[in-house]
């Protein structure tokens, strides 16, 4: 069905004189800005926004929306992204006036309910991490990494130790080194071994007195739990360094093992992944961090404390690094995380991980018959398959498979990440999918493998567009509409 009438650009649909949001007449007698302000402040350039009626806006965006795939419509096994179902009760409760319309600078006494929720959330996240202190401030995982590294830097500065290096496995997510750089550290890459784990020899050779932090993702981005973890954290601690856990993959281990228990000193959560904040086509997220006792003094301010007079924002933190953003944090996502934890409880959270891991292993068991799975028959909550044989034999790439899946109503897996596997297809089914869905999906994958290569190179065939020219986009960047 043709949707082009309403899905042109807003600027093309815009029609001079159309209005949507009308404003009341001014009910005060005060003079206007033109009368009261010096001309030098006033704009001479009319505002160039589109002029739309409400019906135009609605048709435009509703029809546009149907050009997206999304969890609510499709199985979305995008590895490393934990695309689990976003419960509808969260949206209803998060929209309550008593939560959504609280101003961030209201005095504590006027928002005790909000503070109670967030204080509880601090505690839950500490307990799940097996760590002692939590800051809810970071806006996403990457900012959590940065915050924790700034905390580490402040800690070492406080201890008067000069440590400049952050060690990062080659399978790590790009945010790890990028965050380390902003925090002022040099990044040292650690190799993975053939089993997809940290290469211990390489690690040992690179640990020295300059080692500030070792950042590990465990389970790692290959979906493997590095069973050397205790040994690794011991080594780092012995060298006087701290261990950072990238918590993007917490969905595999909730209530089963805790980062603090296996030696991590700091970690971030991706609340938008593990605790099901809706991804919003790219955010918002929330990336709270949990740290061990000795690091608490350096956490950003404020933290929430419980006092005899109720809950309070505690700014009185002399050693704090400061803050990494304005206001408290991405409360909207934290609330959803809170709703989720309260809905599942201790037993439920453990079952989340059990089922996430069960689903991934089951999918692996179905997929391995048709595709290479370089790191073995077992995984945690996700695994990385490879199209390398297919590519060699039939010139069918991971990208081709991903694109063809779209035709069948499945979102593509994460492709070409992690970088350590060629033609990588990283699949994370999450616990909120059914066996039937996994069966269907695996069948479809196998069917695609047997389709014609040429046909696959041109996939998808049934979506609105196919294979956009990315080179052109980067070479002649068009980043905005112009008349």
């Amino acid at each position: 069905m043709d949707k082009s009438q309403s899905t042109g650009l807003l600027f093309e649909i815009s029609h001079k004189g159309r209005r949507c949001h009308l404003l009341p007449d001014c009910d005060v007698p005060t003079k206007t800005s033109a009368e009261l302000l010096d001309k030098k402040y006033l704009s001479n350039d009319p505002t160039h926004l589109p002029e739309m009626a409400e019906i135009d806006i609605v048709r435009h965006f509703v029809n546009l929306s149907t050009k997206n795939m999304a969890i609510d419509c499709n199985f979305y096994p995008l590895g490393s992204c934990t695309m689990k179902y976003n419960p509808k009760r969260h949206e209803r409760l998060g929209a309550l006036s008593g939560l959504a319309h609280v101003h961030p600078l209201q005095d504590d006494q006027t928002c005790q309910g909000m503070l109670e929720i967030l204080w509880e959330m601090q505690n839950y996240l500490a307990e799940i991490a097996g760590l002692d202190g939590v800051s809810l401030q970071p806006a996403a995982g990457a900012q959590g990494e940065l915050t924790a590294l700034l905390v580490a830097a402040a800690y070492f500065r406080d201890k008067k130790e000069k440590r400049t290096k952050v060690l990062i496995p080659d399978s790590a997510h790009g945010t790890n080194p990028a965050s380390a750089a902003i925090a002022g550290f040099d990044t040292i890459t650690i190799k993975s071994n053939a089993r997809g784990r940290v290469d211990m020899d390489d690690l040992i050779s690179k640990i020295d007195s300059q080692t500030a932090v070792f950042m590990i993702t465990n389970p790692n981005t290959l979906g493997l739990f590095d069973e050397q973890i205790v040994q690794i954290t011991d080594l780092i601690h012995k060298a006087g360094g701290l261990v950072y856990l990238d918590g993007a993959n917490m969905n595999a281990i909730l209530g089963i093992t805790r980062p603090g228990d296996f030696g991590a000193d700091m970690m971030h959560y991706n609340v938008h992944k593990t605790f099901t904040g809706p991804h919003g086509a790219g955010g918002p997220g929330s990336g709270p961090i949990a740290v061990r006792k000795q690091l608490i003094p350096f956490l950003p301010a404020p933290l929430i404390i419980k006092t005899n007079e109720g809950f309070k924002l505690d700014y009185d933190r002399p050693k704090t690094i400061g803050r990494v953003r304005s206001f408290f944090g991405n409360v909207g996502i934290l609330l959803r995380g809170y709703f989720y934890i309260r809905t599942l409880g201790p037993d439920g959270l453990k079952q989340v991980s059990q089922n996430a891991v069960l689903n991934a292993n089951y999918l692996l068991s179905l997929v391995k018959e048709a595709f290479d799975v370089p790191h073995g028959d077992r995984c945690m909550h996700e695994f990385v398959a490879s199209a390398r044989t297919l590519r060699r034999d039939k010139k069918i790439s991971a990208m081709d498979i991903g694109k063809r899946l779209l035709d069948y109503g499945y979102h593509a897996p994460t492709v070409y990440f992690p970088l350590v596997v060629s033609e990588a297809m990283m699949m994370e089914p999450t616990e909120t999918e059914s066996k039937e869905t996994l069966d269907h999906f695996a069948k479809t994958l196998i069917k695609i493998r047997d389709e014609d290569a040429e046909f696959l190179h041109d996939a998808p065939h049934t979506l609105d567009i196919s294979r956009p020219d990315e080179v052109k986009a980067a070479k002649e960047p068009m980043l905005r509409w112009k008349k």
Partner: protein, 461 residues
């Protein structure tokens, strides 16, 4: 258990196929020694009925802009959110999608972000915009890193003292372990002192940061500042209020290099501080230094116009430690909300909104300053937020107005020990004349009470 789909039968079949005897077996390479062999110490599960009751109780205990009359500002404002914004943002296809990596499966969001980028550029009069940052404080940090990269200068970063204290603290924290030092330019009269700026500005300065209108609500001399800053080859970074651009000069008109803003006011709820929306737009020349995601237009294999994430070589997932920023997840849904808001308000609506804020704020300022002992703290032009000096402690007055259902304003004493009697008040288009008059009356009564209390305390001591 909600959200878990496998029944006991399913599990058995799946385990059989996997070749495992139990789910526990799947976790076997987690060393025994680090297993948690007890339930997590968190409260037991709640059904939807129970959770809804629990949350309603807690939510009802918070004052909020629906249950009280809100005059709080400082970067977050009680502007009206048209229903159409919520409606669009509640489309499943938008809010439950991931970052649009698969362009074919994400044209809805990609086009919306392209429209967002365009509208932010139109709004600010800047060449280009990215597709969002977290919020304004860290957004300024990103802008500074960008300015360092553009100018190649690792020397000072100058910031007006009138910039939001939480924004300042944010980028100071970001820069803590990097070369530049952040130097504050004094604002003794409520706006940046140009002499102090001139004295601190030199060829090592990468950028100068000004907020306009500033944290006190006052307008800054942005045109003069821009000239000064550019005369030393530094970049001029401005933090603006998007709503103010219905009236005030756009950053592009006064030659700002990078314009950053808090986009909460563009259709996003205050929700105790986040998620918000960092806006960053800049001159075209800096395009390859811009942090965060960019959506670009291109064509597909059949020549059809379409949109993709582009210039990704700037980003962490490709460039790793050399990326322009570490940002990954950004604020997609809130950029969408802002896009819908801007389309809904349109050019006329923006101007009318700005004018309503302006006139109502000035009306209230006049009313308040009729109260004996109350006077403007500065004699400077302002937009929708203004700062007054009271004859008594501002926090005392604010506290006493809570019972009147009024969130009265921000005591500057919170951020500055020298300003216990100073408060800043924001007025949006939602406020009615009778709310303003009631506020002024309650305010007058509160001042009288507080002053006499202070006096009697003073007498006693």
């Amino acid at each position: 258990m909600p959200y878990l789909l496998n029944t006991p039968d399913d599990k058995n079949e799946m385990l059989k196929n996997i070749g495992a005897s139990s789910i526990d077996e799947l976790f076997s390479n987690i060393p025994e020694s680090v297993r948690l062999n007890r339930p997590l110490d968190i409260p037991k599960a709640l059904t939807e009925i129970e959770l809804s009751r629990h949350i309603a109780r807690l939510a009802n205990s918070n004052l909020n802009a629906d249950s009280a009359v809100c005059f709080l500002g400082g970067g977050s404002y009680d502007h009206f959110i048209p229903a159409v914004v919520d409606m669009v943002a509640s489309r499943s296809e938008f809010y439950t999608a991931y970052t649009p990596y698969q362009a074919e499966a994400s044209q809805g969001s990609l086009q919306a972000f392209y429209e967002f980028q365009t509208m932010i550029s139109q709004l600010t009069g800047m060449d280009i915009s990215n597709s969002s940052l977290y919020e304004a404080g860290s957004g300024l940090a990103e802008a500074i890193l960008m300015a360092m990269s553009v100018t190649g200068r690792m020397g000072k970063v100058l910031v007006a003292e009138s910039v939001h204290p939480e924004y300042r603290l944010s980028f100071i924290t970001y820069l803590a372990n990097l070369e530049p030092t952040v130097v504050t330019v004094a604002c003794p009269e409520g706006k940046m002192c140009l002499n102090d700026l001139a004295s601190k500005l030199d060829e090592t300065v990468s950028c100068v940061i000004v907020q306009h209108p500033n944290f006190f609500g006052n307008l800054e001399e942005v045109e003069e500042i821009a000239k000064l800053v550019h005369s030393k080859g530094a970049l001029f970074i401005v933090a603006y209020d998007p709503i103010s651009l219905g009236i005030l000069k756009k950053p592009g008109e006064y030659d700002a290099d990078i314009a950053v803003a808090e986009g909460q006011c563009l259709g996003n709820p205050m929700i105790y501080g986040g998620p918000y929306l960092g806006l960053l737009s800049c001159k075209e020349a800096f395009v390859r230094k811009i942090p965060g995601r960019l959506v670009g237009q291109t064509v597909d294999r059949k020549g059809k116009r379409c949109w993709v994430l582009t210039l990704q070589t700037r980003e962490q997932h490709i460039r790793r430690e050399k990326a322009t920023s570490n940002i990954c997840t950004n604020q997609g849904l809130f950029a969408l909300r802002a896009a819908v808001f801007l389309a809904a308000i349109g050019p006329k609506g923006l101007t009318e909104t700005a004018e309503l804020c302006f006139r109502k704020a000035h009306f209230l300022m006049d009313l308040l300053c009729k109260i004996p002992g109350v006077k403007p703290k500065f004699n400077l032009p302002f937009f929708k937020e203004f700062t007054i000096e009271l004859p008594c402690n501002a926090q005392v007055v604010i506290n006493s107005l809570i019972d009147d259902g009024i969130l009265a304003g921000l005591s500057q004493g919170r951020w500055s020990k020298d300003l216990p009697n100073v408060m800043t008040i924001a007025v949006t288009e939602k406020r009615t004349r009778s709310e303003l008059e009631n506020y002024a009356a309650a305010f007058g009564a509160a001042i009288t009470a507080a002053s006499s209390q202070e006096k009697s305390k003073a007498l006693k001591s």
